[in-house]
């Protein structure tokens, strides 16, 4: 291993690993909010209200169509301007938006738009009889969702969500444009300081590949751990 990638004061190995951890953190924080928003969107898109169907459908078309890079820029600069407009007249001082938070919000919006498609097709895959049985038992809308739909939905949408997780992991690299010190930006800083471009960027690619490998191993385990419908004991 070249000395430049060593840990400690001389090498940049620890900086890169720290960046990789930030990337993982960003993706891990984005995941739950993206899943929650995506599920809400899926329920709205097939809900009773026509207006809400239109709004949620428009949201999905917008955030599936706008490049992630542009979404990140819009959220970062837009929210910052909003914060300035609110806080500067009130307190006389601005409030600085953290690039981590902006990244989480932007990536959650994109994740949710795609996840709602996954949830929608999973919802359609749940047999109608399940809903009817829940109604026949007198369950309320929320009970039905929590006790009957959700456990089946999770299993059915797991492959799609796994796919989205792998995409999300790679998309975190785009948040480097708003100066979050994740793996991509750390690599750029290290490369600018040392002029060892090829070595450092290659190391960065290897680290991303490693993250993808670990993720796919983990996801395969989770998918295996899920009880299949036929095997579930009574």
């Amino acid at each position: 291993m070249p000395e430049i990638l060593s840990f400690g004061a001389a090498g940049w190995g620890d900086e890169l690993v720290l960046g990789a951890l930030t990337s993982i953190g960003l993706a891990l924080v984005t995941l739950p909010s993206g899943v929650a928003l995506g599920l809400a969107l899926a329920l709205l898109r097939q809900g009773r209200s026509k207006a809400l169907r239109r709004v949620s459908g428009g949201f999905v078309i917008a955030f599936q169509g706008i490049p992630e890079l542009l979404t990140i820029l819009i959220v970062y600069y837009g929210l910052q301007m909003l914060l300035n407009a609110v806080f500067v007249p009130l307190t006389g001082a601005g409030l600085e938006l953290s690039s981590f938070l902006a990244g989480v919000i932007a990536l959650s919006l994109v994740f949710a738009a795609f996840a709602s498609d996954v949830f929608l097709s999973a919802l359609n895959a749940i047999p109608r009889g399940q809903f009817e049985a829940a109604d026949a038992l007198g369950l309320t809308y929320w009970q039905r969702l929590r006790l009957v739909v959700w456990p089946q939905l999770l299993r059915l949408s797991l492959p799609g969500l796994s796919n989205l997780w792998m995409v999300l992991l790679k998309e975190t690299s785009l948040v480097s444009v708003i100066a979050l010190h994740e793996l991509m930006r750390q690599t750029r800083l290290a490369a600018a300081a040392t002029k060892e471009f090829a070595t450092l960027y290659a190391a960065c690619c290897v680290l991303y590949l490693l993250l993808a490998m670990i993720s796919s191993l983990g996801l395969a385990r989770i998918e295996r751990a899920f009880p299949q419908r036929d095997q579930r004991a009574a």
């Binding site: 078309i61 917008a62 599936q64 169509g65 706008i66 490049p67 992630e68 890079l69 542009l70 820029l73 819009i74 600069y77 837009g78 301007m81 795609f114 498609d117 996954v118 097709s121 895959a125 492959p159 799609g160 796919n163 989205l164 995409v167 790679k170 998309e171 690299s173 785009l174 480097s176 444009v177 991509m184 690599t187 750029r188 490369a191 060892e196 471009f197 090829a198 070595t199 960027y201 290659a202 960065c204 690619c205 991303y208 590949l209 993808a212 490998m213």
Partner: protein
């Protein structure tokens, strides 16, 4: 302020950016398709080493973010300037636009290889056996029986890949290609007018949605009776969601 951003001159700049964006997509997609063909052939090879080679190629280029790959090629190439000059590749790699085309095509070819391989593998094996038993040779059987059945299967996932490339082309702006996003960022840096982001956002949504609708129409028209949606729903066809 508003007048300043939307001056005729700036609108022309944005149009130029749009042309770059479309050029990237129009060049990368067919180039990547070409690159994916050997990978798919290797995937179907009888030799384990060739299959392994194709699998590793696909695994690596699907696992690494396209931005990291672009930086590696664009900046990393300067460390190998003499070697690349000797190979006559320096001009190609050192220019931002051509560097983007090459890098994106390699990355996209890995995804397209998976799509093509999946679509061909999804055609029941009996079709090939039947064609062979009718006396067609391997190439004929593939061209006349298997391929016509797998193209409709690949169309949907392939469309997703094009959509993905329309969006990913914006990443070119990070190595100073003045595509739609590159021009937008330049205008924003000059004016700090937030509304400058609105126009490209709408343009991308129209591009993506327009392409999707056109593809759906084409699918309905030419792929009647194919079961592409069923294969997709059953998870037998890969797609970059």
């Amino acid at each position: 302020m508003i007048l300043d951003v939307y001056s005729a001159e700036n609108l022309l700049l944005l149009l130029g950016g749009l042309a770059y964006t479309l050029a990237i997509v129009a060049l990368v997609v067919p180039f990547a398709m070409l690159l994916s063909v050997p990978a798919v052939i290797f995937l179907f090879s009888r030799l384990r080493a060739l299959r392994w080679l194709a699998k590793s190629y696909i695994y690596v280029f699907r696992g690494v973010p396209i931005l990291a790959l672009l930086y590696l090629v664009y900046y990393g190439s300067s460390d190998y300037r003499d070697e690349l000059l000797a190979l006559g590749l320096w001009e190609l790699i050192s220019h931002p636009f051509t560097c983007v085309i090459v890098t994106f095509a390699v990355s996209s070819s890995a995804y397209q290889a998976v799509i093509l391989h999946g679509a061909i593998a999804a055609v029941p094996k009996g079709q090939l056996d039947a064609a062979r038993s009718l006396g067609l040779n391997r190439v004929q059987a593939f061209r006349k029986v298997v391929l016509p059945q797998s193209v409709p299967l690949a169309l949907g996932p392939w469309g997703n890949e094009v959509v993905w490339m329309i969006k990913a082309s914006s990443i070119a702006s990070l190595v100073s290609v003045y595509d739609l996003i590159g021009v937008t960022r330049m205008l924003f840096a000059r004016t700090f007018d937030f509304s400058v982001f609105l126009l490209p956002a709408i343009a991308y949504v129209i591009l993506v949605q327009g392409f999707r609708l056109a593809l759906r129409k084409a699918e309905r028209r030419w792929c009647k009776g194919s079961h592409s949606s069923r294969y997709l729903a059953a998870g037998r066809l890969p797609g970059r969601i």
